[in-house]
Symmetry: C2
Subunit: 466 residues, 2 copies
């Protein structure tokens, strides 16, 4: 492609000035000719109303969740001030990696790990905490598994003076005491889930006293706590449209930085768990594609152990294992699907952002799945030449970026590759240790495993024939 | 002071462009009218020759160690390329902290934690690894306690293709498995010390089979291994003059960034363990003070538990507990001094950089000591408003920066305060956990504790009357 029109030397890192930072988020849905299906109330099978959603979520956030018209939604001044604390994040030219691979491709990555939460999660955490404060709430609840979202929200709540209760999956609470202490240092109350602080927790504990908990159970506890506490709401860190909206700051900053140097990506790659970082990274590039202005190859990368896009069904499903949330039409393995417990990454969610699912379903992007050992190999390779030890999640994108660059080496194509380096692996050293010791698992679900997951899909008319 | 002459709005973060980054390190000694005393060979009590030092250290590094004439020493191109991987580091205006403290002071900090080693240590690690490679060495050794230096050196050695053996204090090896795994991911061999890979290790193990090791013992093992291995040298991460030289990149970048906006600091604050980050941060400002161009208040902050400047003696002492190194004239508690085991920070070294010691001795800077609980209180306060969870070491500087800003609040003075935020606390969560649980120790050594340490000082003519 015609790149670097200005013929400027491209620095290793491109930082924007504060004036160049985005003043509005970008709402991909406004550019989609066909919108994704609405949330359904599982009791009535009718689209959820704003009123229904507002019982759980903050009202400003619900408004954003339902907005399909406005392409740009202004970022409030207070959030922009907070963003300045850790943004702009650098857009980095991977000169060292290019040299190592001996590829004619240009590789860029947008690095979101330069903050204490260690990931992009803070982009939405600060927005959600701000709206909660604006609404006059006193406290909020959430759940966390690996701990990135819980940490990000703890930081945001400390800043805005909101009490936060984090239900942390018990096995993570025990195995990741450091994550827990970061959240506590930021003033959050961290409760191992299941706990005796909720009805659902007590019920599960009575039945399975020795359980290590699950994300589904932690969500159910956090929602119950929010609904039963005055002036309290529940906040969610991925999947939903408003989270993808807040994450668009990643893609917007990337595009502004690339435009400054006349760089136009041919391939954009992101790891896909719930889909919010991917949706945010691709936002402005995808909007241009939807408007016929580019033909970028968008690639969602998921673990072979939890292949919702590549092997899942595009069906209505619950967002949580406990089946308490509204139904979303998305690529899903079924809320009852259990990925291999050996898998180290945070990309273990059974479903996928409805926006990403729809774009994939309509052919605007493709998806590939990768196995764990090769992901950690790519992570190690990257860390040694580019310096940053990546989060296992981010390493999925690195793996495919390397694959694409090596294809260019064969064909001689000078493609421009952009990928999202969503975070650092500093709290994932147990997984790196397993890799260093040659003890990674590459278990891939069998067709029978998948069938068991699909059996948990709701048996509703909307899912007939899917 | 006359600040912000250009009347530009000062952004939260000031980044330099690649062209603005320093092309030479700054050698403070060249500006010192009176130099510090030379290293002495403990056997002959004569100044160490370059030849003697070259048996342990790389020859380029020895040349830098002994250079007292050249104010600027060019940074080789290869090192400058590596620096671009994680530099420039941001100079940050602590707007949020200023607001919290309601102070008329302007507070700035230079943040060195945005790299996987989590600290400034990488600045010297890359330089030392480069020179080792240039000399044709195959391997290098070092020791590590908390793990920051070991991690930094592992990153640098992976990049330049050098084998690295790290002797890690056994108790840290066991208590900090995550640090160990980061080093292993970067290809380093990490050996718990004492080990059976060296004579000194075997001897200690025979005598104390259950010992958790010490930094002194790990240094002795690393030096022995280097001396006995062909094409191998030992690298050290602090204290020595060449390390301070490499760390001058911190101060040089800070000054360039401040000059761009017409900012002139009144107070410059750094934490002081071995003294290399402090020496690096103050370098260009101190050179101006030595030349009569400013009257900046330089403050070295040390833990009350290990008060080498505030309660130590300015004497000749060994750099290691094992008494195998040359003798340096420095502020020291005696190489036999043992700080309270409860202290969490990495500022546990018995001595202090000879450069910093001399500047302090000659009245160019002052020193204060602070207690651990108040340091963690400052760390928590800082983390909540400025986002970054600081390393316990860095939090010593934060504590005193806050104190200085609060003094300004009382007096109404609009001082400009600069401090060094040397690193992040992501691998120090055990210490934060102790703080969160109210279980920090504030033990301060008694005069008797200090006397026991001083008793270990070498009984040589040069130490008479000190």
């Amino acid at each position: 492609m015609l790149n670097n029109l200005n013929n400027k030397k491209i620095p290793t890192k491109i930082y924007l000035s504060e004036e160049e930072m985005p003043k509005a988020w970008m709402n991909i849905r406004a550019a989609m000719k066909e919108k994704h299906e609405p949330f359904l109330n599982p009791a009535t099978l009718q689209p959820c109303t704003a009123e229904e959603l507002s019982k759980v979520f903050c009202s400003d956030v619900v408004e954003q969740e339902l907005d399909q018209e406005n392409l740009f939604i202004p970022i409030p001044q207070e959030i922009r001030e907070f963003y300045k604390m850790y943004r702009p994040s650098p857009l980095t030219r991977a000169y060292f990696l290019e040299k190592l691979l001996d590829t004619p491709a240009e590789i860029y990555y947008k690095f979101e790990g330069n903050n204490t939460s260690g990931s992009h999660k803070l982009n939405s955490a600060v927005a959600q905490a701000y709206y909660a404060k604006l609404e006059g709430l006193k406290s909020v609840t959430t759940e966390t598994g690996a701990g990135q979202w819980g940490t990000a929200l703890a930081m945001a709540c400390a800043f805005f003076g909101l009490d936060l209760t984090v239900y942390m999956v018990k096995v993570s609470y025990q195995q990741k005491p450091f994550r827990r202490e970061v959240m506590r240092t930021y003033g959050a109350e961290v409760i191992p889930s299941p706990s005796n602080t909720t009805d659902v927790g007590r019920k599960i504990l009575a039945e399975f006293p020795e359980t290590g908990g699950s994300l589904g159970c932690a969500i159910s506890e956090a929602v119950e706590k929010a609904v039963k506490t005055p002036d309290c709401r529940y906040l969610l860190g991925s999947v939903l449209d408003h989270v993808v909206l807040h994450q668009s700051v990643i893609g917007l900053e990337s595009k502004i930085a690339m435009d400054k140097y006349g760089i136009r990506p041919d391939v954009v790659i992101g790891c896909a768990g719930g889909g919010s970082n991917l949706g945010g990274l691709i936002a402005p590039f995808m909007v241009d594609k939807l408007n016929g202005k580019n033909d970028i190859d968008f690639i969602a990368v998921e673990p072979a152990s939890c292949p919702s896009l590549t092997r899942g069904k595009y069906a209505y499903d619950f967002c949580d294992t406990g089946k308490t949330t509204p139904l979303a039409r998305m690529y899903t393995l079924g809320s009852g699907f259990m990925p291999s417990p050996n898998h180290a990454g945070g990309l273990r969610y059974h479903g996928m952002s409805p926006i990403v699912s729809k774009l994939y379903h309509d052919g605007y992007m493709r998806a590939v799945s990768v196995e764990q050992t090769e992901v950690f190999k790519a992570a190690e390779q990257f860390a040694r030449v580019e310096g940053t030890l990546p989060a296992p999640e981010s390493a999925h994108a690195i793996k495919v970026a390397i694959d694409e660059a090596l294809k260019c080496k064969k064909t001689g194509e000078k493609k421009v590759i952009l990928f999202g380096l969503t975070g650092t692996g500093y709290f994932d050293m147990t997984a790196y240790g397993a890799y260093n010791d040659g003890k990674m698992s590459d278990y891939i679900p069998t067709d029978e495993d998948l069938e068991r997951g699909f059996a948990s899909l709701p048996d509703i008319p909307q899912n007939k024939g899917i």
